[in-house]
Amino acid sequence: MKAFSAQRRETVTAWLLVAPFIALLLILLLVPFAAILLKSVSSSTAFGLPYLSGQETLSSIVPTLSNYALVLNDPHNREVIVRTLAISVVVATILAVVGIAVGYYMARRPRIAPALSAIVTYPSLAPAITIIFGILWFISSTGPINHLLFQTLEWINEPLELTGTFAAVVIGDLALFATISVRMTASLFEMVDVALEDASSSLGATERETFFNIVLPLVLPGVAAIWIFVFIRTMVAYVAALILGGGSKGVVVLPLEIFNRIQSLGISGTMAQICAFAVVLAVITLLGRFLYVLVVRRLFRGTLSVEAL
């Protein structure tokens, strides 16, 4: 009886301590998202979200999936969704490979690792938009790349139009998320005991054989988790597409499409469609997160500790 009440007191104290945080999330994130969810299945074209900024309530909503049908059937929207997934896959895959190479190098070179780590961390300290702006300038028609190819080397007849391309957005996202990928992967490699590599080479393996037989299989589940992590981060980011993608007719990704539609609310599209878009994006993201947690928990099966992720 006494133990029970002590346990209960502990629970009450703990919930009192986390109450402000829960309230913050509830009011600012969960309730608005619930309203977005409701609105996304509403047939009403009324402005505003149910309970928050509109007159709609649960009882007045006539449920419909037409908003989702509109979002998913429109060729433009489909293109946006496929493109968003494609960019995320490309970025996550390139960064997985780069992360493995650089992460391994950093983990096994403790002397120069701090300096490398400082350089690699820079893009995560500097505001994302400054990084993207740097790349915009770098690849612009008057920027250093074209200066070199067009004016100095004269390899091309007219400046390359790089902005507004798929590649430009990919490059921007690569710059934004390289830090996360490299640092997470480096910490994976740090968890692999160097003695395992020594053991492998004493048994006759070359450096290449040791890397592919021992080191890589051990970090692969972690690399998969990092891949998912970067994929999600790329999915939801829109700075790169906004600035490097060449505007609303250019390379638009899902979150940018939502942004553009919010900007032109009342001119084209309805609140309900935006909400359907938002739900699609959030669901993909949260599914990704679920998968990530699953991979981290299951695939490791005790071969490596997961503290780093």
Partner: protein, 276 residues
């Protein structure tokens, strides 16, 4: 048994030696990270729009900085008006959460610890859209745009405060706190005298991370801002929209200098704090 693929030896004669792959990729990444900001810096202090060799400034001029200095300083001020309250809110709200998650076993603990990660993965645009509905069109409109942005930043950056605090608190032996209690300290007293001094470095780290997250934020701020509020990222965006690359370069460089500078100073403080 799982085995990685064996690289065929035919390829190995064409490719550079295997061990070169790692430093070469690293060099490539470092150049990719370092060169665009350097050329941007060159542009911001260049007299003409055209860079020498595409990298170095052609003639030195701080015209952009002096001419637009007032605007740059204003956006730094606006960023601070938002980042500082956000840091304080994150600390006040985040510290109890970290403590509860580490010290107490309670019903719902698993849910709370997953909720801590939610703001990091939730799409910022969806969060911003929700906040916009609350603060611009909805019931919280009277609180104003400043509050909206501060609270928005608090939500997205609070995981950066809680996570380092959790790992710091896990390092502290629970019996130290119990010893303090046995010597007559109350729960709060024990926390203040035994726990708090030991997590100061992590508090500073958390503050630096939240500060960095807040000052860098563009994707949430953009939807919530009004013409009166121009944080540093927003100022850069306006420069981009106005088509002035040189002005954008100057604002971006000033922003970088300020943001990275503050974080480096905080990081140095952490190193000191560990030496106590």
């Amino acid at each position: 048994m799982r085995r990685g693929p064996r690289t065929p030896s035919a390829i190995s004669s064409v490719l550079p030696p295997f061990r070169w792959i790692f430093p070469l990729t690293t060099l490539g990444l470092v150049l990719f990270i370092v060169i665009p900001p350097i050329t941007l810096l060159s542009l911001s202090v260049s007299e003409r729009f055209d860079l020498a060799y595409g990298i170095l400034p052609s003639g030195l001029s701080f015209e952009m900085y002096t001419q637009w200095g007032g605007r740059i300083l204003r956006s730094i001020r606006d960023s601070l008006f938002i980042a500082v309250p956000a840091v304080i809110l994150c600390l006040l709200i985040g510290l109890p959460v970290a403590y509860a998650l580490v010290r107490f076993k309670f019903a719902g603990r698993g849910i709370v610890s997953e909720l801590v990660n939610l703001p990091m993965v939730f799409p910022p645009i969806v969060l911003a859209f929700g906040l916009m509905s609350l603060f611009k069109l909805g019931p919280l409109a009277p609180l104003g745009a400043w509050t909206a942005i501060i609270l928005g930043h608090t939500v997205v950056s609070i995981p950066f405060m809680i996570r380092p605090l959790i790992s710091a608190l896990e390092q502290i032996d629970r019996s130290a706190e119990e010893a303090a209690r046995s010597l007559g300290a109350g729960p709060l007293g024990a926390f203040m005298t035994v726990v708090l001094p030991n997590i100061v470095p992590s508090i500073i780290t958390g503050m630096a991370l939240v500060f960095a997250r807040s000052i860098s934020d563009f994707e949430i701020t953009l939807l919530l801002t009004t013409p009166e509020i121009s944080t540093m990222p927003i100022a850069i965006y306006h420069a981009f929209e106005s088509g002035s690359t040189r002005l954008g370069a100057a604002v971006a460089m000033a922003t970088n200098l300020f943001a990275v500078g503050v974080i480096v100073i905080l990081e140095v403080l952490v190193r000191r704090a560990r030496w106590w």
